[in-house]
Structure formats: C-alpha cells, structure tokens
C-alpha cells in the first residue's frame, strides 16, 4: 500500500474543515431530537484529525485511514465516535486486505458501512447516518465507472438526508422521542452528507 498522495491529505483536510464549519448546524439538529452535542463531538474529532494530519498522511493509505478511525474513536465519544471510528478503521482494514483504490472503492466503502451497521446494530431506515451512507454505497455500486459518478453521489447524499426527516427514529437518542422524532433531519445523516460532499467537491476540483 503506497503512501497517500497530496490529494488524500487535501481531501481529509477539506472534509474535516467542512464538518467543523457545519458544527453549529449539526448541534442545532441534535438539539431538536437528541442532546445537542453532535456538532461539538464532530468538531472535536475533526480538530484532532487535523492536528495529526501530517503524521496521518505520512502513513500508507490503509494505515492512514485506520489512524483517522482511531483518532475519531478516541476523541469524538458519544454514538458518533465509535460509528465514524469503525467506518474508517474498517475502510483501512479493507485496504490492508488486497483492496485497492480507486477500483475497489465501492467494496471498501461497503466494508466501512457494514462496520457502522455492525457496531450500531442498526440498518437503513432507522433514521441514522446509515440512511445517507447506504444510499451513497448503492450509487457507488450502480454508477461505478460512470463519468457522472461524483455528481450522482452528491445528489444521492443530499436527497438521502432530506428523506430522514419523515422517518421515525428507532436507533440512537432520537428513538426515545418516539413519534416526536418525525419531521426533523437526523444530525448524523447530515454530518455524513457533509463529509461525502466535501470529498466529492475536492475530487471535482482536481478533476
């Protein structure tokens, strides 16, 4: 596994910065149906990743992703920490086992999404980050190799976030609200979308 390119570093940077910029929005979404800390949690984790970005980027790609995962696990806390942590740990793990980018992107992303689902004992439709991550995975599979892949991923992510609004949560804190969770976008779905959009924007800028 080769050391990641400058592109990788700038994508991580852009994604982390984008999440940090979105922290107030994520917190206010979490105030509506959660406990009001999702923005702060993600900000803390992303700042920790930025603080280690040189060290992370000096690693082979698989190790770099695992380092991101570990950093998130150790700094985010809450539900989102273990979930995003598991996502990146599993992505790195997949790359350590004969998977390669960009060819195996859908496979690697799939392993990462499965890790979230396993750690959270959750599935699509429960009003969580999986309701963005799973549709994005589907698009990565169905549109693999297409010239408009990035554009389609972006549309998928944006639409998927909005589709969490009418859902009733059955996982995470919002589930305690019962029917009152309906009508609000899920904060974790939004943060997943922010991450996906930031990476897509970075790739587009370099395309």
């Amino acid at each position: 596994m080769s050391v990641p390119s400058e592109t990788f570093k700038s994508l991580v940077k852009a994604a982390a910065e984008q999440v940090i910029a979105s922290a107030p929005e994520l917190t206010s979404l979490d105030q509506a149906i959660g406990d009001g800390d999702h923005g702060t949690n993600m900000k803390r984790g992303c700042e920790a990743v930025l603080g280690k970005l040189d060290a992370i980027s000096a690693q082979p790609l698989d190790e770099a992703l695992k380092m991101i995962g570990k950093t998130l696990v150790m700094t985010v806390g809450g539900a989102s920490g273990p979930l995003y942590g598991s996502f990146f740990l599993a992505a790195g793990e997949a790359l350590s086992h004969d998977k390669h980018l960009p060819d195996d992107l859908a496979d690697v992303f799939g392993s990462a999404v499965n890790a979230v689902s396993a750690r959270g004992r959750s599935q699509v439709g429960e009003k969580t980050m999986l309701d963005v991550l799973v549709p994005v995975l589907e698009t990565l599979k169905t549109a693999a190799g297409q010239p408009d892949l990035i554009a389609r991923v972006r549309t998928t992510a944006t639409e998927a976030v909005e589709r969490t609004a009418p859902m009733q949560a059955t996982k995470g804190r919002a589930s305690f609200l019962g029917a009152r969770s309906v009508g609000h976008v899920d904060p974790g779905a939004r943060s997943s979308c922010v991450l996906v959009q930031a990476v897509c924007a970075g790739l587009e800028a370099r395309a």
Partner: protein, 327 residues
C-alpha cells in the same frame, strides 16, 4: 447562558480538577483526566467501573470510593467517554477478579464500553441499566434508557463487590436490581449544554415535558404544567404499573433532582410519591432525596422505585464512603 464557567471547552476539565482537589482524601484523577479512581485501591476485589457523559454530577465520579465504584470515566458533557478512557481506568484499578462495567443504556455509552471491552485485557463483564419507564420497551429496538436507577445498581453491587462477591455474582446481582428498578422523569425547564450555548428545547411558562431522560433531550409528551400531586400521580402510576409488585413489597424510593430544582420541592414530591406508592400497596423501606443524577441546570426531577429484599436492603445499608453518598 448563565453559568459559572470560563470557556466552554474547559468546563469539564476545571470542574474535574476542583472535584479531585476537594475530595483528595477519597479519589485521584487519572492522566489527562481520563478517569477518576479511588485513592486507596483494593485489587483483590471485582473492580466496578462506570462512566458516561458529564453533566449528571455527582453521577458517576461522586460515587467513586469505598463501597461503590472503583473508577468512573467522565465523557464530555452528555457525550459518552471514549474507549481509551475506559481501558486505562480498568488498567489502573483492576486485579485478577476482573472488571464490571456498569453502563447506562444509550447507544453511545454501549458502543464505547463495548469497544473498550474488546480491547481491555483480563476478564470483563457488563451490566446495562435500563430503568426508564418513559420509553416503551416494545416499540424501540434500542430499549429503555438507563437513568437514576443506575445509582442504586452501583450502590448495591458496589457493596457486594466490597464484601468479596465474584464477577458472576456481581453481574447477576446487578441484573436483578436493574430488573426490579423503574424510573420516570419530568422537566419543568430545558437545560443548556455549555458548548451549545442555548437551551436544548424551549418550554412555555405553562408547559412541562413528561418522560424526559437525563440528557436534556425532550420527553415523550409536552403537557400543561400541573400540580405536584398530579405529576407524582402520573409518574408513580407508570412506575408501579410497570413494576407490578405484589402488595406489601418493600421498596426504595429515590426522588432525584435534575440540577435546577431546590431541595424544598424534592421533599414535597417525595411526600406525594410516597403516599401514592403506599396507597398502591408498596412499603417504602428506604429513601433517598437529592440531586444525584442531574441534567446540568434543568429544573425537574425523576422518581425511582427499586424493590428490595433482605439481601439488597443489607447491601444498600452497607457503609459507603464517596463524595456524594456517605453512610
């Protein structure tokens, strides 16, 4: 936001430093404030470790000491601690008898403790508390929340561990206590998470939230503000219906303030709740009234009823020497 703080990012650290300094005879702080542990360790017993988001003080750090927890891992405000905190706490306090994690049933707490258990060396076991009757078990796959009943599990299992109970015995006891414990909470105001800076929810002057947890999340229903007796009646009915205890059962009644409710009101609620529970045939054999499992500055309270038997009564009465509970 009106709080005694310097900077929102330092609230937890400065408060923990104060806690450790004020109770230096009982506890010490781990490196990077990752955990609070007993000053005097006893590595021959089962080590009890709890933790969770901060903002619930004195839970859990206030319950570290002889007869209760060996260590507590404070997460950021309303945010579960991270696995490294839990693993390092276990390293610091555990011996051959193993570690028992006492975890409130929240996705974040469960996942972080689970990751810690996967990493930690030595034997570990976990009790998940889920005493909140406001959440209907059947409908939500995640199950009920763990709230103020956690204190009772920590006290009773803590006493057993202190007496030398082994890991399996502690687990069985904790599960038994948890299964006989029910809570319900009501909020008169929202709390304000320091980092958020604004109240988590807005309540009208004549409204309250019934069935809240301890993280400032809105409750199950927003209803009109009612008199203490009406509130106590709804809560005790929900609890007693769910417990379905035979008449004459002995119970512990915990009236717990959420941080912004004064003692005079807690005793008034205790008075109402006790009367109603006794009318339902329970005998209130033990009582605890105070702000023990809080939600920052929220005005509100929870009622917890825990059925007692001779063994658990004796364990509840056993000596405890922590910052928040002492007898």
């Amino acid at each position: 936001m009106k709080k005694f703080i310097n900077a929102v990012d330092n609230v937890l650290g400065e408060s923990l430093d104060g806690f450790a300094a004020a109770h230096a005879d009982l506890v010490t702080l781990g490196a990077e404030r990752k955990f609070v542990r007993r000053r005097e360790l006893n590595r021959s017993k089962v080590a009890l470790i709890s933790g969770g988001g901060s903002g619930h003080e004195p839970l859990h750090a206030g319950f570290v000491g002889h007869g209760m927890l060996d260590a507590a891992c404070p997460g950021q405000v309303f945010t579960s601690p991270t696995p490294d905190q839990i693993v390092e706490a276990a390293q610091a306090v555990a011996g051959d008898a193993g570690v028992l994690f006492i975890v409130k049933n929240y996705a974040g707490d469960r996942m972080n403790f689970e990751m810690a258990a996967e990493i930690a060396e030595g034997r570990t076991a976990t009790i998940v508390t889920d005493d909140d009757v406001a959440v209907e078990k059947s409908t939500y796959s995640i199950g009920r929340r763990g709230v103020a009943g956690t204190l009772i599990v920590e006290k009773i299992v803590g006493a057993a561990a202190e007496k030398g109970a082994d890991l399996a015995t502690c687990v069985a006891l904790g599960e038994r206590v948890n299964a006989r414990t029910r809570s319900m909470g009501v909020a008169l105001t929202s709390c304000t998470v320091p980092a958020a800076g604004t109240p988590t929810f807005a309540l009208g002057e004549d409204e309250m939230e019934m069935g809240v947890g301890i993280h400032g999340e809105p409750g199950r229903r927003r209803v009109k503000l009612a008199q203490a007796d009406a509130i106590a009646s709804e809560m005790t009915t929900a609890i007693a219906d769910d417990l379905a205890a035979p008449a004459g059962s002995e119970a512990l009644l915990l009236v717990n303030g959420f941080g912004g409710t004064p003692t005079i009101e807690l005793y008034l609620m205790y008075n109402a709740a006790r009367r109603m529970l006794e009318q339902r045939g329970l005998r209130i054999a033990r009582s605890l009234v105070g702000s023990y499992v809080t939600s920052l500055d929220m005005a509100g309270c929870s009622l917890t009823v825990s059925l007692l038997d001779a063994e658990t009564t004796a364990l509840w009465d056993a000596p405890v020497r922590t910052a928040a509970l002492k007898w």
